[in-house]
């Protein structure tokens, strides 16, 4: 059994890696101008056989694909952390309003930058998003102390999300006309527009948080049995909860700063990975959620920009189409399981 489990995990990781590689190549190849696979490969090795293709790959497609991979992974891990934290399978940065909170502070920062005329860099964006994410997270926590029911918690989160969205819309309405379009695109969620400086910033933040989350695997696993049992196993609950809040906020803030709010990845991907790997052990599931999130977002981004090309969909539209059914299926499945036991 133990060997079968390890084998299953290995096979799944291998499959995900292959899929990631495949989607990565497809993303680089396809778009308004199709670039042949061999050209892509040559460009990736650093040569420059075709100036136009080189620019398209290195300036547009590669950053975009990388940000889908990194941010998608981060978002999914953030969802897994929140689900463990609230012991609620449909918790996630989007559902709990954390993405919307981050979006609000980033929008405010953008508008301020436009009006005052200073140049934004990625660090400021991330910081603003982090502040928004933490504020929303704390508000949700305030509610979670009072509500025991998981549906109520989600409703509270969705309402907080609505309030933040309304405030964002209000802010956008009073912003400069010329730049509303830019803000509007971002606020719907998109992996485009990242430059290499952004990629570096997101990679550092996401991989650091990921490493942090991975090191927390042991207490997360203990926490899955419930707070009292975790405490008895020697987990310092206060420190652990604080770390979990900071990590999940940092991850969802980073994603929101660069890609805007992206829906459903945080709920659907961890759930799909639990099914695929047949376990909820954080030691396996944290890397799995990262890889799965990257694959899911690369796939969705590919669809978003190629399905109705040259017209581009927002990535949230696509993630919702694939993610929402997973959530519904999960609810039905859980109801069935409960009726059996």
């Amino acid at each position: 059994m133990e060997k079968r489990r390890i084998l299953r995990a290995l096979i799944c990781f291998l499959g995900l890696l292959l899929l990631a590689g495949l989607l990565f190549c497809l993303s680089l190849m396809s778009g308004s101008s199709r670039i042949a696979p061999d050209t892509v490969f040559v460009i990736l090795t650093g040569q420059n056989p075709d100036a136009a293709a080189f620019r398209i790959i290195t300036d547009i497609r590669l950053p975009r694909t990388l940000s889908a991979l990194i941010l998608g992974g981060g978002l999914s891990v953030s969802g897994f952390l929140l689900q463990s934290f609230f012991r609620n399978p449909i918790a996630g940065p989007f559902v709990l309003g954390i993405s919307s909170g981050a979006k609000l502070t980033v929008a405010l920062l953008m508008i301020a930058a436009l009006q005052r005329g200073f140049v934004l860099h990625s660090g400021m964006m991330i910081a603003a998003a982090f502040v928004g994410a933490v504020l929303c997270m704390l508000t949700v926590l305030l509610f979670s102390g009072r509500v025991r029911n998981m549906a109520q918690l989600v409703i509270a989160g969705v309402m907080i999300g609505y309030i933040c969205n309304a405030l964002t819309d209000l802010a956008v309405t009073f912003a400069d006309d010329a730049n509303i379009v830019n803000l509007h695109n971002w606020s719907k969620g998109s992996f485009s527009g990242a430059d290499w400086q952004d990629i570096r910033a997101m990679a550092v933040l996401v991989f650091l948080s990921l490493a942090g989350a991975f090191l927390l695997s042991k207490p997360i696993g203990a926490y899955q049995l419930g707070e009292s049992y975790a405490e008895n196993m020697g987990v310092n609950i206060r420190v652990f909860r604080l770390l979990l809040i900071l990590l999940s906020s940092a991850l969802s803030a980073c994603v929101t700063a660069f890609a805007g709010p992206v829906s459903f990845v945080g709920i659907a991907v961890p759930h799909l990975m639990k099914g695929l790997f047949g376990t909820a052990k954080p030691l396996i599931l944290i890397p799995a959620a990262f890889l799965g999130g990257g694959v899911f977002c690369m796939g969705c981004d590919l669809i978003a920009r190629t399905l109705f090309a040259p017209q581009e969909l927002s990535v949230s539209t696509v993630t919702a189409v694939f993610g929402a059914p997973v959530v519904i299926f999960m609810m039905l499945h859980r109801a069935k399981e409960r009726s059996i036991s």
Binding site: M1, L215, K218, L225, S228, G234, N236, L283, S341
Partner: protein
């Protein structure tokens, strides 16, 4: 008391500033089982949570193997104390083995990967509770009783000095109740583990404890051996039983007797009368029972359920006085049921009663009467 695994001293347990149990001083030594009993809401769980360091103590002290709970690191507490709590765990996609393996948490490294030795300890614990065959089964798909066994295996795998269990047998069938408590008894003895638990099953608390602590009115009202606690009327007052009686000798709870003048007289003895008493009580008919020896097996039940019981001293023949009293009551009843066919040498008085009833024409044969009622 330096050999005590658990020693509490004037411990006050409660929430924030509200004291629920005050001035608790108990000590549990290795190999001993200490059971907290007391009515719902008396504070048994509060005491246990405080001892388990899950609630801050309000005053007093708790020492675990001689070290104060305040000064011990979380990890050291975890290596000395394991718990089994009432809350249900929602283990998503975990096998029973996974759940039991979490007991090794305080012994594993940063990433929590189990060594071969850890695995062996978990397997041994699962074997001990008789759940080895469930190792690869999903934790959500087993019965409550099996789940409790797995949680016990988890607590054993933690290799504690003290095991703390909050109502470990509630919601289990009687077979599992006995299984769990017998296991605890064995563990305490063989591995010299100290056990502190709360129980609602008084009869089992009486049989499986070395010390019983009665939590009532915000304090440990009494602490003693089961023999000291389960005697006299104390249990009835501890649980404030008003609608019935509790016989601590047998752990038998009986409902209150049907009040009123007896309508039926039951001549019983040797246990034959018990089903009749139960039926009378169930149908709400006030009845008299007699003549019963005070050492008769059905005496306590008759005492609890009948409105009048006529008795004779233990090992004495049923005397004239008792028969006279009985016939006095019997004459005012509309019918008499005789549950015995034969009368021993000590029981000749009841033979006389029976023939008296026959002459009066109010004797109903027990069996036919039962059939008639059943048919109705």
């Amino acid at each position: 008391m330096s050999d005590a695994v658990l020693q509490t001293n004037a411990l006050s347990a409660g929430y924030s500033r509200r004291v629920i149990v005050d001035g608790l001083t108990v000590s549990v030594s290795a190999g001993a089982i200490c059971t907290l009993i007391g009515p719902n809401g008396a504070g048994k769980s509060t005491v246990l949570k405080t001892v388990a360091a899950q609630l801050p103590m309000l005053s007093g002290s708790v020492a675990l193997c001689g070290d104060s709970l305040d000064t011990l690191h979380e990890k050291d507490v975890a290596r000395r104390l394991s718990v089994l709590l009432t809350q249900k765990i929602t283990a998503e996609r975990m096998t029973c083995g996974d759940v039991a393996e979490t007991g090794r948490y305080p012994y594993t490294g940063t990433l929590g990967i189990l060594s071969a030795e850890d695995k062996r300890i978990v397997h041994e614990a699962m074997e001990l509770v008789g759940a080895a065959h469930l190792y690869d089964t999903d934790f959500r798909q087993i019965s409550d009783g099996q789940r409790q066994c797995v949680m016990l295996a988890r607590a054993i795998a933690q290799q504690p000095k003290l095991m703390l269990l909050d109502e470990p047998t509630s919601f289990l069938d009687i077979g599992h109740k006995l299984h769990i408590l017998s296991l605890l008894r064995r563990l305490a003895k063989e591995r010299q583990i100290a056990v502190i638990q709360s129980l609602h099953e008084l009869d089992l608390a009486q049989k499986f404890s070395d010390t019983v602590v009665c939590v009532h009115n915000g304090k440990a009202e009494r602490i003693g051996t089961p023999e000291e606690i389960f005697s006299g009327d104390y249990i009835a007052s501890l649980y404030e039983i008003e609608n019935g009686t509790y016989d601590p000798r047998f752990g038998a709870a009986e409902p209150a007797a049907v009040q009123g003048d007896p309508e039926v007289f039951v001549i019983g003895g040797g246990g034959a009368g018990i089903p009749v008493y139960r039926r009378m009580h169930r149908t709400g008919i006030p009845f008299a029972a007699g003549v019963l020896h005070e050492n008769d097996v059905e005496y306590p039940i008759a005492k609890a359920l009948a409105s009048v019981v006529i008795t004779e001293k233990a090992f004495e023949p049923v005397g004239a006085k008792a028969v006279e009293n009985a016939s006095h009551v019997m004459k005012r009843c509309r019918e008499v049921l005789c549950c015995t066919e034969t009368f021993g040498s000590m029981n000749q008085g009841n033979r006389m009663l029976k023939s008296q009833a026959e002459q009066l024409g109010i004797l109903r044969p027990e069996t036919e009467d039962a059939k008639k009622r059943a048919a109705r």
